[in-house]
Amino acid sequence: MPGPLPRAKSNAWWNRGWPYRVFLLRELSAVAVAVYIVLLLLLVSQVREGRGAFNDHLDLLENPLFWIIHAVILGFAQLHTSTWFRAVPKSMRVKLGGRAVPPEAMIFGMYALWVGASLVVLAAFLVEW
Amino acid sequence: MADDLQHDILIVGGGGAGLRAVIAAAEAHPDLDIAMVSKVYPMRSHTVSAEGGAAAVIKDNDSIEEHIHDTISGADWLADQDAVELFVNEAPREMIQLEHWGCPWSREEDGSVAVRPFGGMRIRRTWYAADKTGFHMLHALFQTSLKHTAVKRYDEWFATRLLVEDGRCQGVIAIEMRTGEVHAIRARSVIMCTGGGGRVFPFTTNAAIKTGDGMAMAYRAGVALKDMEFVQYHPTGLPGTGILITEAARGEGGILVNTEGRRYLEDYNLGEPVPIDDPRHPQLRTMELGPRDKLSQAFMKEQDAGRVFSGEYGTYTHLDVRHLGEQLIMERIPFVRELAKNYAGIDPVHEPIPVRPVVHYMMGGIHTNTDGETSLPGLFAAGECACVSINGANRLGSNSLTELLVFGKRAGLSAAEFAREHPDLDTDGLEAQRADEEASIAARFRTPRDGGERLATIRRELNATMEEGAGVYREESGIRATTEKVGELKERFENVGIDDHSKSFNTELTTAIELGFLLDVGEAVAHSALERTESRGSHQRTDYPDRDDDQFLKHSLAFRTDGAPRIEYADVTITNWPPAERTYGN
């Protein structure tokens, strides 16, 4: 008598639908952010090497390959941010005056902060010093 | 399988009453060996489907006296008044106990338990956990029972028969679903908590598991089934599925209207309607907050007058809660909205809910006293499968959940006492019974046979004849035809054929055994209804439209025989509330 069928374990779980794929991409986004930090550290290290080396490095970054790398990293960063925002209301409950703040309000607040911060950074670039 | 399964107390059924009995026995007698058999995991039990609430006097404006009176008059004076007094007095303590065990009761702003109005009650006294009261009570009880790790649970073991030897109940025979093995579980005392048998009818709020197992097992062991003719139709079920729309929908202010837009209950001696925007609406013990039997009967009369809607799944009227507004609906009756959306395809915030009367509860059951004792020594019963009786001819909404607690506990304690006083079991005789049951199951259901009828055919015919002869309104020729039909079906059932002759998790086998139980329950209902030639509460005879206290202020007792059951009568205990006319309305 064979008995109950043992529980099946499949390594293909990540391909069972978009939620699982997005989960995997979300986890991978940490790698993308790590790569960006390496790139940033390289840039900073070139500053120490002097203006010439720094300019050479900037020229290197003009290469389409780096554009693509940066675009991919930006995409991952966006994904990382939005999934993070979605996670926050699940991880913490905020009460105001005895009433729980609805998740949508928390997420909206974070997006608002994000957009605000981005505008400040953008303004810093656009304004002539 | 001959093995050594033996306990001091065995509880059959893992719903509210069974779990309360387990906890009571385990707390009071930690040295006793307690076990529970349940054909489903306990948290699947039908207590889970109860919605509206559980009644107990707790607020200052309420009184024990009022609750007793509401219950007795609701029962059309067929309740035993000593039992009702005891029940109402013990109810608040039991409910507080359940609160202490974590049941998430809805609350007032000051943190005290909130109560809502319910049908037939003169004062609001129904505790509720939104509209999933039964669900929360069951899970709180089940989870609390897990504290008692010494309690042995036989989950998904299907009890088929009582072990009776030397004039005493000494356990049950049960099929272990996983293996299909037939075991004897011996016990010094047994408590039946298997619920009602609403599935004997075609259109019911009851879950699939409610097949009257415990009633039938006790009946077969010679114990009387009491007041079986009293079957409660809940006035508001969804057409087609029979899914319950809780009385709380009306308790919160929902109204019933017919095709003419009229709140038709005002035509049936249930008082004057107060407009829905009047702060006095809804009025207690009036109109939509009348008792269930009268509301269901009013529907049938509206149907006769042609003032009901007609749809693919029969006739219906409208339960309108729109005026409550989305916020209140979501706070108080969110499950009603979920169910109506899923199973009727309408959103009660914007549309009225189609509803019709639906078989909901059996007032009758295994004849017990207030300690849950039956006439068979060692056998106890509590919950819907038992009949104490506090419900008489019509149960008031929200008394049954409380009943599970009060009488579950009492049965647990008295079964424990019995187990202490009666230690010896006749193990040889019990093993012989087990072997006999195993052989009979094998011969009937594990051997392929040709030409047998399908289970579903017999079940459908049983359902149909029960509704025809023993529905909301009954009369002699109809009931007689039903009794004859049930007799015929019992014979045909002997030759039923099933597809599945294997052992592991054979649900067709258990369905077949359940159908056998249903046939016995149906027989007791029909014959008890035939003999009661009066109208009282939920038992309405068109040929005997009046209540007849001279002849029938009595409980019926149905005893199984080889032919038609023998119906006897027992006196109703009257203490301080002499029978009077039942009146409702403002």
Partner: protein, 253 residues
């Protein structure tokens, strides 16, 4: 074609522990009806065509938690999965993923039931108040703190959605952790510390990688993922507080 004569194909997972060495699929034609759920189709099959089909069901109104199955690869309560959602079919019906299979769509729940018991899902107090003193007071706001996590019907759909449970035998899983959190958040309970050892262990909250599908498939909006993340935050706070040489006011447990 009229509704009367329309049919739909059900591809049903079959496995019998007495005879089969591996599972197979069997196709059945069932009548299509607008208001039928997958469970209705299975019941029709069992009644009329094949009595050997095995599955659990009871309340048919989404509250007993018995009838969870994979419907076209997604965990669903079959009493609440309408045929019309899957037309024109075929509709594949399988047992919930992640569990051993007893027979056909009947899963083995031993592991779930054991873990449920392990987290002590009941009120724990140093001393129970006397019943004579009435109920424990609990404001609606305190009730709201745990109410959502008390709505779990133990249907185990969340386990079927959880890749961690699929791969980690010891993981307590979404519903059980949510239930533990339900009691930890209940103002009447004092059992937090007793539950911590198990909940804060690796096989408790820290095995969870926050895929979040448990909450997506939950038919009762319990949001077990949220319960677990909240417990993680609490455990983390507790760790840092324990590093301090003093207990900040209001932080002591």
């Amino acid at each position: 074609m009229t509704t009367e004569t329309m049919t739909v194909t059900l591809e049903v997972f079959r496995y019998h522990p007495d005879t089969d060495s591996e599972p197979s699929y069997q196709s059945y034609e069932v009548p299509y009806r607008e208001e039928w759920v997958v469970l209705d189709a299975l019941n029709w099959l069992k009644d009329e065509v094949d009595g050997t089909l095995s599955y659990r069901w009871s309340c048919r109104m989404g509250v007993c938690g018995s009838c969870g199955m994979m419907v076209n690869g997604y965990p669903r309560l079959t009493c609440n999965a309408f045929l019309r959602e899957f037309m024109p079919g075929p509709i594949r019906v399988e047992p919930l993923r992640g569990f051993p299979v007893e027979r056909d769509m009947v899963t083995v729940l031993d592991d779930f039931m054991e873990k449920l018991t392990d987290v002590k899902p009941y009120i724990i107090r140093e001393e129970e108040q006397s019943l004579d003193d009435g109920e424990y007071l609990q404001s609606p706001s305190q009730l709201a703190d745990f109410k959502q996590f008390s709505m779990c019907i133990n249907c185990t759909l969340c386990y079927a959605a959880c890749p961690v449970y699929e791969h980690e035998d010891e993981f307590l899983g979404p519903a059980v952790l949510a239930l533990a959190q339900r009691y930890n958040l209940d103002s009447r309970d004092q059992g937090n510390e007793q539950r911590q050892q198990l909940i804060w262990a690796d096989e408790g909250i820290w095995d969870c990688t926050f895929v979040g599908e448990c909450s997506a498939v939950c038919p009762k909006d319990v949001d077990p993922a949220a319960a677990i993340q909240q417990a993680k935050v609490e455990a983390t706070n507790n760790f840092f507080i324990s590093l301090l040489p003093f207990t900040p006011p209001g932080m002591g447990r």
